[in-house]
Each structure stands twice: as structure tokens, then as C-alpha cells.
């Protein structure tokens, strides 16, 4: 009797021990998994910090040599090791500006078409087509720009601009010079085609998020379709649209391959938008592997740092605006 009781107690305690062990193992596994996921999340933060730190470290020699003058100097001479970022910054901003000037109105009008005018059966195919096109790699746009688009512009649009707008006093110098085919304007146009899908799909999404009640009320008052879009949809979706535009701008500023093919890589600031120029990303892509000497490499990395800071600010504003509209909808 006693034996049995003892035995069973021993059994029970043995079971309890294994049970406790198993629970401990599970608890340990749980804590380990949680730690792993948390460190991976921290890793994303560490990644961004590492990018910034390494860029700053790499650009120190150039910053020490040129100081603040790097930002405003126009010279770029690898032989005498005199470097300045101004032509590249100017080219980056000008090409992106041309791109947004064209892509934003077209993107807004396409979004207007898709949300208000398009027959429902056509809405999905066009929407999908636009989203698929957003995924086409930029090098495809580059090769198309070099072989098809630039020769086409050289023969049609550019002579036309030179012969008409080129003679207008005031803005004439913007369209002066020979039609090279490649150059700032061509790069801007290609960037416009590239960012169009981004701008369109985000604007469409924010247009669709406008409460139908608002639109119906406006229609009920007798507004035309255009008046509804102009006075109800656009004001309501304004923040989201600006966010989408900034997101497209961020893409355009940092875009490398599509531009590198057709920009012409000339380190000078020309008055004419038809002239070849350069952008930050195109300069890095073209010259980095051939850069001889620490100062040359460092100057290119400094360009990268400038680009990163510019796009970071633009993208941060874009995300902030889009987050605001998401919160309002959600």
C-alpha cells in the first residue's frame, strides 16, 4: 500500500518535472522568437543608420577639402581634382521638375477618367495595366529612350521647339542650341513616363477613398462631373494627391538608369533645356568605377549623400501626408 502510494507520487513528480521542463523549453523558445523578430525590426532601423553613417564617412575627405563650396561650385575636373556638385544638383532638380510638370496633370486626368468616367468593365484592366507598368525596370525605359525616343525627338520635337519657342524673346534661350536628341528635356520626358504610373495609381486610390455621399450630394445640387471633381473630390483628396506627387518626385530624383542613358553626362549648367547635362545619380553611375584617387571617389560619395538627403526629405514629407490621409479614412 505504502509502496504503491510512494511509487505513484514518484510518477507524478517525474511527470511534473518533464512537464515543467517542456514548459520551460516552450517559454524559452517563445522568448527567443520574440527577441529574433524584435532584433530584425531594429535591424531595419540599423540598416538606415548604417547607410547614412557609411555615406558620411565616405564623403569626409571631400567635405574636408572643399567644405561648403562643394555645393555651389560648378567645376568638375578629375585631373586637377576640383569637384563641385552644382551642375549635378541642378540637373537632378531640373529633370525631375520637367517630369512632374508633365506627369502630374496627365496622372490627375487619368485618375479622373478612371474614377468618374470610365465604364466599370474597363476600369480594372486599365488599373492593372498601370500597376504592371509601374513595375517595369528603369533600364528598359533607358534603352528605349536611347534608341527610339531620343532620335525621334531629335527629328521632330526639338527642331520644332528651336524654331518656334527658341525665337520668343525671354524664354528663347531655354530652347536654343542644336537638337542633340539626348539632354535634359529628353531625360525629363522619360522620367515623366516612368513616374506616371506611380502618380496615377496613388491619385486614383485617394480619389476612390472620397466618400460617395459627398459626391452624390454635389451631383444632387446639379454639378457637372468636372465640377464635382474640381470642387469636391480634389479638395477632399488634396493631401493624398500631394503625398502621391511627392512619392513620384522621390522616384524621379533618385532614378538612375533611365536618365543615365539619355542625359549626355556633361558637367555644366546650360541655359537651354535641350543641352546635355548630368544628374547626381547619372554622374555616380557613369564615373564611380572609373574614379581614380580617394578624393574623386569621395566626391562621388558626397554626391550620393546629397541625393540621399534630398530624397529622404521628399519621401518623409510624402509618407507623412499619406499617413495623415490614411488616418482620416481609417
Amino acid at each position: 500500500m505504502v509502496d504503491v502510494a510512494l511509487q505513484s507520487r514518484a510518477l507524478v513528480s517525474a511527470e511534473a518535472v518533464t512537464r515543467a521542463k517542456a514548459l520551460d523549453r516552450l517559454r524559452l523558445g517563445d522568448a527567443a522568437f520574440r527577441l529574433m523578430t524584435r532584433s530584425a525590426a531594429m535591424g531595419v532601423l540599423a540598416l538606415l543608420s548604417a547607410v547614412i553613417i557609411s555615406l558620411i564617412a565616405g564623403s569626409l575627405p571631400a567635405i574636408k577639402t572643399f567644405g561648403f563650396g562643394f555645393l555651389v561650385s560648378e567645376s568638375w575636373n578629375p585631373v586637377t581634382e576640383k569637384f563641385g556638385a552644382l551642375p549635378a544638383i541642378y540637373g537632378t532638380i531640373l529633370t525631375s521638375f520637367i517630369a512632374m510638370l508633365i506627369a502630374v496633370p496627365i496622372g490627375l486626368m487619368i485618375a479622373f477618367f478612371l474614377t468618374e468616367l470610365c465604364p466599370p468593365w474597363l476600369r480594372r484592366p486599365i488599373g492593372i495595366a498601370i500597376e504592371l507598368l509601374a513595375g517595369i525596370p528603369s533600364i528598359i525605359y533607358g534603352i528605349w529612350g536611347l534608341f527610339v525616343f531620343a532620335p525621334f525627338l531629335q527629328e521632330t520635337l526639338q527642331p520644332f521647339l528651336i524654331n518656334t519657342l527658341g525665337n520668343v524673346p525671354g524664354i528663347g534661350s531655354l530652347f536654343a542650341g542644336p537638337p542633340y536628341g539626348i539632354g535634359m528635356l529628353t531625360s525629363g520626358l522619360i522620367l515623366a513616363i516612368m513616374v506616371l504610373p506611380f502618380v496615377t495609381s496613388i491619385t486614383r486610390d485617394v480619389f476612390e477613398a472620397v466618400p460617395p455621399v459627398l459626391k452624390e450630394a454635389a451631383y444632387g445640387l446639379g454639378c457637372t462631373t468636372w465640377e464635382v471633381v474640381r470642387n469636391v473630390v480634389l479638395p477632399y483628396a488634396r493631401v493624398g494627391v500631394i503625398g502621391g506627387v511627392m512619392l513620384g518626385l522621390g522616384r524621379a530624383l533618385g532614378e538612375t538608369m533611365a536618365v543615365t542613358f539619355v542625359i549626355g553626362n556633361a558637367h555644366r549648367i546650360a541655359a537651354s533645356v535641350l543641352a546635355p547635362g548630368t544628374t547626381i545619380s547619372a554622374t555616380i553611375a557613369n564615373e564611380f568605377t572609373e574614379a581614380v584617387g580617394d578624393l574623386y571617389t569621395s566626391a562621388l560619395i558626397t554626391l550620393g549623400l546629397i541625393l540621399f538627403v534630398i530624397t529622404f526629405i521628399v519621401l518623409a514629407i510624402a509618407r507623412y501626408l499619406l499617413m495623415r490621409i490614411e488616418r482620416r479614412i481609417g
Binding site: 516552450l26 523558445g29 517563445d30 522568437f33 520574440r34 523578430t37 524584435r38 530584425a40 525590426a41 531594429m42 535591424g43 532601423l45 540598416l47 548604417a50 557609411s54 555615406l55 565616405g58 496633370p105 496627365i106 486626368m109 487619368i110 477618367f113 468616367l117 470610365c118 486599365i126 492593372i128 495595366a129 504592371l132 513595375g135 517595369i136 525596370p137 528603369s138 533600364i139 528598359i140 534603352i143 528605349w144 536611347l146 513616363i193 506616371l196 457637372t224 468636372w226 471633381v229 512619392l247 522621390g250 533618385g254 538612375t256 538608369m257 545619380s281 555616380i284 553611375a285 564611380f288 568605377t289 550620393g304 541625393l307 530624397t311 529622404f312 519621401l315 518623409a316 509618407r319 499617413m323
Partner: protein
């Protein structure tokens, strides 16, 4: 008198409405047509060069015929490395954000930073990897190219993993907890399974994103005219070969560049379409 004023005002409103509608139609035709034009010329130029030789022969010296076997294999290897490194990190980080720290400060910061990484210029990522992997080791390498692409994979996977896990209904988690399943097992066996289609989609989208990336490879994995699978050496990749061949003066190289561009585009389109199909079937079941 007021009647005619009203009528003319109404006519004016109708005119501006018609004008805006016409503009919207025109914009859609121009926008979509332009993009169709690009794809059309790509098909036109690329298909003429497409043959079996493209997939079986090495890149040629200028002036002779050849194929794209070494860059195709190089691209596959680099993509594989990038996915192998980037996916686990991305999934773990996304898991933390959706499961453990959904309402954390950390999560909202990570989400913000991740969204910025998602559209950060890829050439800057190339510079970063050059600084930390190429310059210290003193040579360009396939590993550096793979890691650079992995940096681009991570944000895509983080984003989709978080989104997909957030969609998993809480009732599933509660049921798992109520039968005594520890949190980590519940996540791995219940939530991952429920969100699997969406998470695979994320990886597919990431592959589509990196398969055409050129800028981060230019000064990490560099390029190689010859057959090489040594990851400590420069390795050929399709985008970089396209870049080099397209800018060369040789006709053979240029037509190979078009063919390469066609292959990449078809691969990217196939990946994004299958990702879409996957999401669609996931929604139905």
C-alpha cells in the same frame, strides 16, 4: 434677360465639363498609349534577336555572335542570394510589427523608416555596399552584389508581411492561445499559414523589383565577360550587361541588349502577374 444669362452660364458650364472630359480621355489615351508604345518597340526589337543561342552561349566579343548565358546565370545567382538573405530578415521584422508590437512606438518608427527605404534611390544602396563590403575587401564580388540586392528585398518583404499578418483575424490567435499554444508557435503554425499566400506574394514582388535593378550592381558585383560562378569575383548580371552593350557602338551588342531587356521585362511581368493571381486565389479561399 435672366433666362438668357442662366442659359449662357449653363452652356459655359457644359462646355468646360466637355473640355475636361475630353482632356481626361486624351490623357488616358496618351498615358496608356505611350506605355504600350514602349512595350511594343521592346517586343519588336527584342524578339528578332531571341533564339536558342541566347540561352546557351556566352556573351560574345564585339563583332561576333553569342548569347547571354553567363549574365542570365549570374542574375539568377544574385537574386537567389538576395532572397535568401533578405526574406528571413524581412519576415521576422514584419512579424514583430504585426504580432508583438502592433501598437508600439518602435513599430511606427520602423514602418516609417521602412517606407523610406522602400523608395530610396537604389544607387545610394550601391554606394553603401561599396563602402562596407567592396572597399574594405579590396575587390568587387558577387557577394557584394547579392547583399546590395538583399537590402532592396528587405523593405518589400517587411511591408507585405506586416500587411498580410495584420489581416489575419484575431479569432484565430485567440483560439490558438485558448488551447494552450505558446505565442511563437501560434504565429508560426497558425498566422503564417493563414497569411502564406500574401507573404509569398511579397517575395515574388521583391524578386520582380530586384531583377531589373542595375544601379546597385554597377560597383558591387561589377561585370564579367566570361563564365564565372565564383562569388568572390566580379560576376556578370543581365541588367549590367544590357547597360554596357546598349551604350557600345557595336550592332551585335546592341541587339543582344534589346533581347536582354525583353527577357527581363517578360520575367518581371510574369512575376507580378503570378503575384496578383496568388492574392486573388488567397482572397477566394
Amino acid at each position: 434677360m435672366p433666362d438668357t444669362v442662366l442659359a449662357s452660364r449653363y452652356a459655359g458650364r457644359r462646355r468646360s465639363n466637355n473640355a475636361a472630359t475630353a482632356l481626361a480621355f486624351a490623357a488616358t489615351i496618351v498615358g496608356v498609349g505611350w506605355l504600350v508604345l514602349i512595350l511594343g518597340s521592346l517586343l519588336w526589337q527584342g524578339f528578332s534577336g531571341l533564339s536558342l543561342a541566347v540561352f546557351t552561349q556566352m556573351t560574345p566579343p564585339p563583332g561576333s555572335s553569342g548569347g547571354l548565358l553567363n549574365p542570365i546565370v549570374g542574375s539568377l545567382i544574385l537574386t537567389f542570394i538576395a532572397v535568401a538573405i533578405g526574406t528571413p530578415i524581412g519576415i521576422l521584422a514584419g512579424t514583430y510589427m504585426a504580432e508583438y508590437g502592433r501598437y508600439d512606438r518602435l513599430t511606427s518608427v520602423v514602418r516609417f523608416i521602412n517606407d523610406i527605404l522602400l523608395s530610396a534611390p537604389s544607387i545610394v544602396i550601391g554606394l553603401f555596399i561599396y563602402e562596407v563590403m567592396v572597399a574594405p575587401l579590396g575587390h568587387f564580388s558577387g557577394w557584394a552584389g547579392g547583399v546590395a540586392l538583399a537590402v532592396l528585398v528587405i523593405p518589400v518583404v517587411v511591408r507585405t508581411t506586416e500587411d498580410m499578418l495584420t489581416l489575419v483575424p484575431d479569432a484565430l490567435r485567440e483560439a490558438a492561445t485558448s488551447i494552450g499554444l505558446p505565442r511563437s508557435l501560434a504565429i508560426r503554425h497558425i498566422c503564417y499559414r493563414a497569411a502564406r499566400a500574401g507573404m509569398v506574394t511579397g517575395v515574388l514582388l521583391a524578386v520582380a523589383r530586384i531583377s531589373g535593378e542595375t544601379a546597385p550592381l554597377l560597383f558591387t558585383s561589377l561585370n564579367n565577360q566570361f563564365w564565372s560562378t565564383n562569388l568572390n569575383q566580379p560576376i556578370a548580371s543581365l541588367p549590367v550587361i544590357i547597360f554596357q552593350f546598349a551604350l557600345s557602338p557595336y550592332k551585335d551588342w546592341q541587339s543582344l541588349a534589346w533581347t536582354g531587356a525583353l527577357i527581363i521585362t517578360l520575367a518581371v511581368l510574369a512575376l507580378s502577374i503570378s503575384a496578383r493571381a496568388l492574392v486573388a486565389t488567397g482572397k477566394q479561399s
